[in-house]
Amino acid sequence: MREASSSNGARRRRVLATLLGLELRLLLRDKRTIIIAVLLPLLIYPAFILAMRAVSRAGQERLEAATYEYAITGSEAELARSLVQEALALSAAEDDSAEVPTNFVERVADAPDSLLRAGELQLVVEWMSHEEYRAEREAEAEGDTAALRRLDELAAVPAVRLSFRSNSELSSTAASRMGARLRRLRVERRDRLLRERGLPLDPGELAKLELNNVAPAEKEAGAVLGMILTPLLVLLMLSGGSVVAADAISGEKERGTIETLLTTAARRGEIVAAKQLAIIGVGIAIAVINVANLLVYVVLGVFELPERFAVSVEPVALIVLLLLFLPLTGVISATLLALSGYSKTYREYQIYFFPVLLLFLFPSAAAVLPGIELRSAIVLVPVANISVAVREVLVGTYDWLFLGLTFAVTMAAALYTSRLTSLALSTERLITAAELDRAELIGGPALFPKRVLRWFGIMWVTLFITSLWLGATLGIRLQVVVNILGIFFGGSLLIIWRYRLQPREVLALRPVRLPVWIAVLIGAPSAYLVGVGLARLADLILPVPERMLESFGEYLIAPELALWQVILFLAVIPGIFEEIAFRGVLLSGLRKRLRPVALCLVTGAIFGLFHIDLFRIVPTAFLGAILAAVVLISGSIFPAMLWHALNNAVALVPAYLELRIAEPPLWSFGLGVLGLALAFWILWRYRSRAALAGGDGGG
């Protein structure tokens, strides 16, 4: 032991090497897993790509080779026919794929429209006078003033109607090809006419526009590569690393070897480090093997690359990319390992893997979003920031400050997850095998804290789906009834009934003293002001689109409601029933598991998420946290109800009365902070004895 302490570094290295050797040896001997997870994908991925391409090419050919049948109808059939024939006779333009010669065949039919609907015909062409055209379009516009105005601006010329069905690929293709032909015919006729009348040049030569792409081929290829590189690597790392991770801890638990390992002289940190290194190693190896495999196919000519595809990565870029992928692999391996550490069996690991896969793939595709730049809030989102940073580096943009920030943010996430795994190995509940959960056996109130988040998850989904489906059609009053009375209050009642809870305790229905009410009267408007200030700060990071602001304004200020209705439906009802759900049931459910500060923050965040809209999360989460604190300090839910209702009223009533209040000046936020502090000081002075200390609702 003396030699161990004298050369701690050597000791660590030796233990780490031994553990890593074990991991790799175990993996390599698992033939079946290697075949399924490593070798088969090498065949499957390229086969998949090839098959997809073959199928899409065959589909394209099918559309090229198809015979498109059209009919001509209407009183001016001859006119239409000659137009169509002239259009079809046009020589094919070069690089316009929609206009390559296609087999259009006319079919004479009595009731072409019904044939079209039945799928017997692909296209029906009709010549319409301008009046007929207008009449039809006006009927279609249904009083949409903007559409009608656009109609007025049109020249009074006849129209060719191409009737098609968009639920048939053949029919849509026929319509778009015929349309393209007719448009070209129109331009040619116009040009011919103008030349005949004496225009001295080809109209195409007027203010001729030329597009000059100055991007080097490498940069364009870099942009494409930048979009796919991160998601591809993340996918391969995840699926490759998972092979090891699944076995790493949950497999050891299942086999019972984890205890053997934990009683050796290796530290938990060392065990985690060795496993993480194994995951990274195997993940990278699989990623490299797969990329190399694809390259082999490219070299063999099985896949061909786009023509202007040239990749050149400078040494600097290469180093930066490697540095960026370092925290990415770190966070992926740590997450997989944490997952493995927190699941007790191999199978349990498998359940969680799929959601985690999505959780990573989604942000890793951030670079695909058009117009997203690293210099934005995205830099704060781990994985997504790497994705955007990689794209920027590949097109040659180096924003060093934000690259550094990206590295730091994702690295911090990696270290944090890594720590979670170490903790999982020290958490007795997770190591010691199958342990009975007393709460599950007893049920009732004991089970409630464990299940409360699950219930709120279901409530969130229900809320989300109903607001998607019914949001527009319900009108604000019904929406309030459905969401607040139905989902929030109904859900709360259901939870209380299901776990046999004491409503008075869970909902903290206790009287309070007079000064508390005064504190609420001061606090609510102050907190509103602070919330507005916070929303404005958030806007700097997450700019709100105009459209959202408008639609939100329209949504809240429903002109058909009387003032009393606005107050009832948007202030009083939410004040009472949202409090019952969030500061009543949710708060008391989480109470035993979290410390007061964390409790307020988590309650607030969940309350924010229930407002669904990304931009309302910050102010509503703030309000939710404040209200949770009010309940915790005062020991009663009633002040929070009044506070909430007042807050909503302050937010809505001036807007309803169309009082155009100027943007609150900066000093008003300071005033808000002061008012809020005063309110909390009063609350604290007259705090309830049972409130903060009594961790459980029963006390």
Binding site: L83, N167, S168, P200, L201, A207, L209, W469
Partner: protein
């Protein structure tokens, strides 16, 4: 199948036990029920938020451009560009090279350079040509180029109209005719069409996924928990035991498939609406009533198929993990319909109806689009069921081996097939019980 050996009352008892166990097993509940219910809304919300975020970001972004050598007669063009809030016309006078360098550095988004027209085009006084230099690799630059292009095109059209008026060509003559695309498909048909592209695909994948865990759990899982022998020693015939397990796996597969369809149909409108903009605003995502039984029967046929195939392979595994590796290839079969989605105008034909899995997928696709060819539907189902019966027959052949039944056979289906089913000597086979 020796149906006489199956005691249906016992099957029912055993089946209920399996199902009750499954509903208490977290991995099965999560995979089959919670995933579809939660996954779609959460993904939707993420998509929403990401799109709104990007919209907010790009709204504030102004295209920075320079116009070089713009002839004084065409100052109107500059004015129209300057008037737009989203465009900032820089006044710098730089060389083209410098401008291009700035575009590449990201200092500038696009350079519009006004040139003398070509020899032919000189015939009209004041004519000019424009060259827009932009960086196609950058979204900001593409957008700037588009904005200049649309300004120039508008300017050119107005100019052409003026010239035409001077030449006494009326606006009507200039325009000639309008082209009016008239889509006769109803909103419901279009909605159904979009659904038909996705729903069959998801049904197949989700039925397979729904069978995945239960099929391992009820075979390899039982061995791992050592309840397999307990079960083999009950007084029910082995056929009854196996039948009840099979029906149970198929039930879960069917449930997973149908839940997914429902969840998708509920949430898909919301995904597409913001993506397709106004166009999709009106779409109605509903499935024709008649298609519901077809979907159900199709999903059932798939569930019977996947359950049979997966159980056959998984039953050779002694551990959950091995089982998983063994049936992964079957799961890949579920990807077949993905390829079909790339084929335009694909409908059920007598030939296609003979391809298992694909035929059911196309059958569902047609049904959602309101096409019902009962003869072909019958053929597809028949073909699918023939495969199911084939697998079940194989399963029955396998069940005759004692060491397999007791779980002492160590190896996969392939090894078993090589050593026992195809080998001549099969002395240790039991008489069918």
């Amino acid at each position: 199948m020796p149906l006489s050996l199956i005691n249906w009352r016992q099957v029912w008892v055993l089946y209920r036990r399996e199902l009750r166990g499954a509903l208490r097993e977290r991995s099965i509940v999560v995979n089959s029920f919670l995933l579809p219910v939660f996954l779609y809304p959460v993904l939707l919300w993420l998509t929403f938020s990401a799109m709104v975020f990007v919209e907010g970001l790009s709204e504030g972004r102004v295209s920075r451009i320079v116009l070089l050598d713009l002839p004084a007669e065409h100052a109107e063009l500059r004015d129209s560009l300057s008037a737009a809030q989203s465009v900032e016309v820089r006044e710098d006078t730089v060389s083209v090279e410098q401008g291009v360098a700035w575009v590449l550095d990201g200092e500038l988004d696009a350079v519009a350079e006004f040139l003398a027209p070509g020899p032919e085009a000189e015939a009209l006084p004041d004519n000019f040509a424009v060259r827009i230099s932009y960086d196609r690799a950058e979204e900001r630059s593409r957008r700037a180029s588009d904005r200049i292009e649309s300004a120039v095109t508008g300017y050119r059209d107005r100019w052409l109209e003026r010239e035409a008026r001077d030449l006494r060509v009326s606006r009507e003559q200039l325009e000639g005719f309008l082209i009016y695309r008239n889509n006769v498909a109803t909103e419901r048909q279009v909605g159904a069409f979009l659904l038909s592209l996705m729903v069959p695909l998801f049904v197949v994948i989700m039925v397979a996924l729904g069978c995945f865990v239960p099929s391992i759990d009820t075979t390899a899982g039982e061995r791992e928990r050592s309840t397999w022998e307990t079960l083999m020693s009950v007084s029910a015939s082995r056929m009854s035991v196996v039948t009840s397990k099979y029906l149970y796996v198929a039930t879960l597969g069917l449930a997973a498939g149908m839940l997914n369809v429902t969840a998708m149909v509920i949430s898909i409108g919301a995904v597409l609406r913001p993506l397709a903009g106004e166009l999709a605003e009106e779409l109605q995502f509903r499935i024709p009533l008649l298609a519901v039984p077809v979907l159900l029967i199709g999903a059932l046929a798939l569930a019977l198929f996947f359950a049979a195939a997966m159980m056959l392979l998984a039953s050779f595994a002694r551990k959950f993990k091995d089982g998983q590796a063994m049936i992964t290839p079957v799961y890949w079969l579920a990807l077949i319909p993905v390829f079909l989605s790339g084929t335009p105008e694909l409908h059920l034909t007598p030939t296609l109806a003979t391809v298992p899995i694909a035929n059911v997928a196309v059958m569902m696709r047609d049904a959602i689009n309101g096409r019902f060819d009962w003869l072909l539907i019958g053929e597809s189902l028949l073909v699918q069921m023939v495969f199911v019966v084939l697998i079940l027959w194989l399963a029955r052949a396998v069940l005759r081996f004692e060491d397999y039944l007791l779980g002492s056979f160590d190896g996969s289906f392939w090894r078993f097939a090589r050593q026992r089913l195809l080998a001549r000597r099969s002395s240790d086979a039991l008489p069918v019980e």
